[in-house]
């Protein structure tokens, strides 16, 4: 009954209500736009502050209120950090470690993913569940015993603990991501290649991988971030300064420079810069990867 009355009197009111709702929605969206913009500024304020302060003279950093754009940008701060720290050395070290770890991650994950996606072998499903189970394993549980293991190998104060483990497809999510992608590649292509006499290894590297560039890029991007940002492993395994990565160097510099904030900020900005570039140029791979797996970043 109530609905009937509602219906009978609702010819024009409904459309009017809809108009009103639309207007309210539009006003709401404008308010939301403003709110989001303000929030974004708030979110990125520490990063802006870091970059702007890296170009200040000391006095300006400690001035209140904060100046967001330095009066007289001190680009020399960046030259100074290269004088006080062998930054090129640390950058090169980081580059070598990250490259080798990422190459290993991509190759080994692809091989393992191929075994799980396309080959039938006894025990496959058990191994796959074990792989997935490692995702729930907190890293801290292997922290101490792994150190002992690598110590027995004589790997302390070398880059090997930062590289070798990643050649064994240890990050389950990467394998999972690739496996899902490989399964979408038509099996007929593979059969045709086999009839032509191609071996499994050739099929993987010359047929499957060229067709899987998007997933390889996603995994590579995540792995670059993971290894570039890694701090705990270098902290535990690397002692000699000549082998330090950027994250160790930044931490040490921060600990010893209590007063020269502008130089610490310059060093932090320098370390952050490659990740920002990567983020800008590889953004679609991030979004793809996170949206499909729920992983990526921290």
């Amino acid at each position: 009954m109530a609905t009937e009355t509602h219906l009978s009197e609702s010819r024009t009111p409904v459309s009017r209500r809809r108009e009103a709702l639309k207007l309210r929605g539009r006003l709401g969206d404008i308010a939301l736009e403003v709110l989001m913009f303000a929030l974004l500024l708030f979110f990125l304020a520490p990063t802006f502050w870091m970059i702007s302060s890296s170009l200040k003279v000391s006095n300006e950093i400690f001035a209140t209120p904060v100046t967001w754009i330095p009066d007289n940008p001190q680009w020399g701060n960046y030259l100074k950090i290269f004088e006080v720290l062998p930054l090129w050395r640390f950058t090169w070290n980081t580059f070598v470690v990250v490259s080798l770890a990422v190459i290993g991650t991509v190759i080994s994950s692809a091989m393992v993913a191929y075994a799980f996606a396309r080959l039938n072998w006894p025990g496959r499903d058990i191994w796959f569940s074990l792989l997935l189970a490692t995702m729930m394993l907190p890293d801290v549980i292997t922290l101490v015993p792994r150190f002992v293991l690598f110590r027995n190998f004589g790997w302390i104060n070398t880059w090997l603990p930062l590289i070798v483990p990643y050649w064994t497809a240890t990050t389950a999510i990467y394998v999972f991501l690739m496996r899902q992608f490989f399964r979408g590649i038509p099996y007929e292509l593979e059969q045709a290649a086999m009839i032509d006499g191609a071996g499994r290894l050739r099929i993987l590297f010359q047929l499957i991988l060229p067709l899987s560039v998007p997933v390889l890029a996603t995994v590579a991007v995540f792995a670059i971030i993971q290894h570039y940002n890694d701090f705990l492993n270098p902290l535990i395994y690397i002692n000699s300064q000549s082998l330090w990565t950027l994250s160790l160097a930044l931490r040490a510099y921060n600990d010893t420079n209590v007063s020269n904030w502008e130089l610490v900020f310059a060093a932090a900005t320098f370390m952050l810069f490659p990740m920002v570039l990567l983020f800008i140029f590889a953004q679609r791979y991030f979004v793809q990867g996170i949206a499909t797996t729920g992983f990526g970043g921290r």
Partner: protein, 306 residues
Amino acid sequence: MATTGLSEQIKPRRALSLQRREWIAGYLFASPFIIGFLLFTVYPMLYSIYLVFHKWDLLSPPRFTGLSNIVQLFTDPKASLALYNTAYYTLLAVPVQIVISFLLALALSRPLLLRNLYRAGFYMPIILPLVASAVVWQRVFHPEYGILNEALGWLGIPPQPWLFTKDQAKLAFVIMSFSMIGRQMVIFIAGLANIPESVLEAASIDGAGSLRRLLSIVVPLMTPLILYNAVIAVVNSFQIFIPALIMTQGGPEDATLFSVLYIYRQGFEYFNMGYAAALAWELFVIVIGFTIAQFYLSRRFVHYEN
């Protein structure tokens, strides 16, 4: 006769050998994982159990000490303090993280002009090196020169000591963690995009207002992702380490001595490998316990589509 006999003999053998070859190929291709898993995960975990029952400083040979490391877990006040700090941080940070990231995802599902910029901007902090972020946040919280107190000053709030006082140090880490919600936000955005428009339209025709639609349709449909984000966030928050090492070194008065920091100290500064292993197992059991509890509690309110 002879030819048919021959082909019959060959066929099964060839089939078998093809299958065998696939088996071998499977194991060969999977061998990096199998070897790595056994060597870098299983063996260390087993070895870690061995360590729990021994005292070892890496110099003299390990000495069997029975349950003394485990007893120490319960008698060492710093061990319980570290757990308390970690749980305090986790229980305060995670729920707010979930709410913030969910609200952001809702907002960014609207057709805003700069939507992509917002998404990228809110996501970005989590791909920056945590060491660099910690170095910056350490100064953001500075009582005199930090920008947080300056922003609070606009609201008329007097400067707070943050990392310099026992009472606010953990809170500072919680606040810092609110800027690292990008991954959760992206997951929620992906989930929200999967809610069929028709369901929402039907509800709105039935007279449901936007708040009602949010609470009765959107949130229930998102519960699996809320659970997922909560589980991952709890596991990660329990392992907070880098910010504490850099910003406070666990201080003041051990107020930010978190579990992993304490494990790191016992293992790699005091070289009590056995005790460090015991602490790690304790944390492991607690994290797994929390995960199971979350799944258990979630059965009441998580909505799964068939």
